[in-house]
Symmetry: C2
Subunit: 504 residues, 2 copies
């Protein structure tokens, strides 16, 4: 019997990883520039460059000899160091997901969503659902077909839920959202019945953009980002990306009439960037770099935005930063007033502006409509009606137009059906981390009050960040919290917090 020597297969794997890294790096810079600085007329060439690089990445990964290398290495996992073993597992999964869809159909789909994104943008501005409608049907139809390629035995929507958050399905999310609804719906009703709301008066006024950008840096510095490994850019829709652990991007925006929006956008994006900076640097040039899933990524961003950023304890250090940049406008505000203002819970129309309590209901509505589209029970033409019915039913608000209704989010035009639930799930993961930290003796509120987040970051870095894509979400949660995901941490948190704030 010949003994297998993995040396040459490992060399092939390392060479492949470097080529994939170079494409991720290039596409990361190209996308960041596209969203932040590129001139209007630069879009077609950017699209062409991205299409070529992503097609090359697809070809590299799907090459038959790569399949053979991965198979041989997987069959001799005992000969591999941990990092290579994880790479083999993750690359094999990435490859299976890429290879199942015929290259030409993938390319057609890329063109479809690129066009749909443009159409959506114009449709939203013009409040014109009809122009976007055919794209929704075509995208859903294509995603259903692709789901069939990926796993013909499975429900197509389940396939996509699982793609955005490994290990999830309708059954999983149904249970989760039932728990959430059971908690949130009566709470929202009680808040509305109470008839009192915290005042926002102290936060009205004009906040100079240049000063707000300085504040943006202050905030991520307080949050604990390595500023020598971070770029901050300006864009319309905030986002975070990262090339290696020592190079993260945040792109954000400021509104001169709303300083709070900037503060919480930066806390949110800073959470994403902390995760990316915290991945084991040994994974930098491999497929293990980056966040493992959207849900885990959102669990970091929403952790810093909400569990830290909207806590009563953190109100003092956060407000102090704001007061330093805007002494005239905010000098008279006290931390408790700030805490109440940023936790004002109120049914509303726009998901991205929703408070922590009602947020999950915005997600439930999208989750339900996506299911109807994927099951064929509804077509795109039904969406505005379904949207209005559900906003009325869950939140008690009238949808005045599609711009503030089904056209508000960019996701569907980009083919991101199955993505929305990860936002709610990410929020819920965070409550469980927080409870676990406190159980283990982390003085969460004391640290927030002192503006010293280092021990909180250390906990997350050790349990979540360092692993990058090397651990799947379920394993991460189990490893971090000593138990599987449990939504009751989240519902308890919401109940305690909003019962107290509103004196219910």
């Amino acid at each position: 019997m010949t003994t297998y020597d993995p040396t040459s297969d490992l060399a092939a794997l390392d060479a492949l990883e470097l080529k994939l890294f170079a494409r991720r790096y290039a596409m990361g810079d190209i996308n960041f520039n596209g969203e932040t600085i590129d001139p209007a007329k630069g879009a077609p060439a950017r699209g062409e460059a991205l299409a070529i690089l992503s097609e090359e990445a697809h070809e590299l990964l799907c090459a038959p000899e790569v399949g053979e290398v991965l198979e041989r290495l997987a069959a001799h996992a005992e000969l591999l160091d941990d990092t290579h073993a994880h790479q083999v597992r993750v690359l094999t999964r990435d490859r299976e997901q890429s290879i199942s869809v015929p290259a030409r159909e993938e390319a057609d789909y890329t063109r479809l969503v690129s066009e749909a994104g443009d159409v959506w943008h114009r449709a939203k501005l013009a409040n014109d659902w009809a122009s976007f409608e055919p794209y929704v049907d075509r995208i859903v139809e294509t995603m259903r077909r692709f789901a069939g390629y990926k796993d013909p035995a499975r429900d197509p929507y389940d396939v996509w839920l699982d793609e955005f958050e490994i290990g999830t399905s309708r059954a999983f999310y149904d249970r989760f959202f039932d728990q959430v609804k059971e908690c949130v719906i009566p709470l929202v009703a009680d808040v509305c019945a109470k008839g009192w709301q915290p005042s926002l008066d102290s936060f009205r006024g004009h906040f100079d953009a240049a000063k707000q950008w300085e504040l943006a840096r202050d905030i991520v510095e307080l949050e604990g980002l390595d500023m020598d490994a971070l770029v901050i850019g300006k864009t319309e829709h905030p986002f975070t990306d990262s090339l290696v652990s020592s190079h993260a991007f945040i792109a954000s925006h400021v509104h001169e009439d709303d300083v709070i929006s900037n503060v919480y956008s930066m806390l949110h994006e800073g959470g994403h960037a902390l995760y990316e900076q915290g991945v084991n640097p040994a994974y930098d040039y491999t497929s293990l770099k980056g966040g493992v899933s959207m849900g885990i990524h959102e669990s970091q961003s929403r952790f810093f935005e909400n569990y830290v950023g909207r806590s009563e304890a953190f109100a003092a250090p956060l407000l102090a930063l704001m007061q330093r940049r805007f002494p005239e406008q905010l000098g008279h505000v006290d931390p408790h007033e700030f805490y109440l203002a940023v936790n004002r819970a109120e049914p509303s129309l726009i998901r991205t502006e929703a408070d922590e309590l009602t947020y999950a209901l915005h997600i439930v509505i999208r989750y339900e409509i996506e299911q109807l589209l994927f099951s064929g029970e509804a077509k795109a033409c039904d969406v505005p009606r379904l949207w209005a019915e559900r906003y009325k039913g869950y939140l008690g608000v009238e949808v005045p137009d599609d711009r503030r209704g089904a056209l508000q989010d960019t996701h569907w035009g980009g083919g991101m059906f199955g993505y929305f639930p990860t936002y709610a799930l990410g929020s819920a993961y965070g409550a469980q981390y927080r409870d676990k930290m406190v159980e283990e003796g982390v003085d969460f509120d004391g640290l927030c009050a002192a503006g010293d987040l280092a021990p909180i970051r250390a906990w997350l870095a050790e349990r979540i960040w360092q692993f990058g894509r090397a651990k799947d979400p379920n394993d991460l949660i189990l490893g971090a919290c000593g138990e599987p995901f449990d939504a009751s941490h989240f519902t308890r948190y919401l109940t305690d917090k909003f019962t107290t704030i509103y004196g219910l």
Copy 2:
């Protein structure tokens, strides 16, 4: 006899061009970000990504089957449209230049200059020639060896002169610099003997950086750039690049104590960007995109910086822009005073700050020292002495230290021996364009005075810009001016201009 059908070879050529385009695009964005926004800790990963992408470009171009495709197409040039014929010629030359150097030696050299660039940077700050010295010797030695691979029959320095400016050699530059010296040296002596200099007093003061960036945009807009196809970034050393004709970058800097520096940097970089925006858009995804040579590129930047920007006629519209942004500091200045101030001719130590008259002497000094290094008559340890002797001889100035001497420029650390002469040559090309325009009836001064550069741009676009890399420098000059390059246009221009200003 079988008839050759070029269809499949042309398809292979087009596919290669797209892959090369994607790499140029990616490396363009990566480099721009590296010079403008990347975080300090991002450098190693950026270097790795660039190394991988450039190695891939080298492999793509040097693949044996590409050589065969190019040979077959070149042998049937009569079957090709003009664009493909140019592509075959330019790609064949690019390929020959790439393939002659063994890949490993090329990679070692890339590492050497990358390290040397770093060492130079620190050496300049520390005024420490000794630490940089061994790199100069190693780079010269490597470049001599590479020249031998490229053309063993030719003098090594000639090989590199020709690489940076096709068609040049020591014989060519010796003639050119003799003409320049014959004109400039007595002029400089007369200016010095005159004992009078224009005053700079009106331009001292504090010029707010944010306002200077607004002025920077005003300037390139007046120059005529398509602002929807331009990005302006911030960097230490100004430069211009371009991805396609509809996407150019300018990176520049401002100094709050010196508004003139910003104005002329932007005019200079704007000239480069006009050239890039003016290349035939049909060349966008091919090797024909971009400027044909450094000399021709500098001829555009220095045309707008000097022939337009430092003309007496353009002083009024240019000063008006400056006054709009800085009414308090500059409101009292008149155009003639401004014209004199920006044409103050004075022997000095620093090339990049030199005036239009003495500039060429700074280049002559570098050209002479480079020849001594390449011929073996001098080693790096001799450079500070040679530098001091020549600055004393040509410009009459004492070199107080290497920081303001042989360490001032970045070029040698980057292996750009043979590059400096293109700066002087580019300046000289411009005088010939200007004379030709005027001869053909372009009202150069009238247009400058009116701030209407469109007819001047149209002339340059038609004769120079549109061709990209499809015409070599000699052919461009001949086509544009109806005669070969002739340095007497340049020497006449300098003589007339500075005789008048200084009343010689």
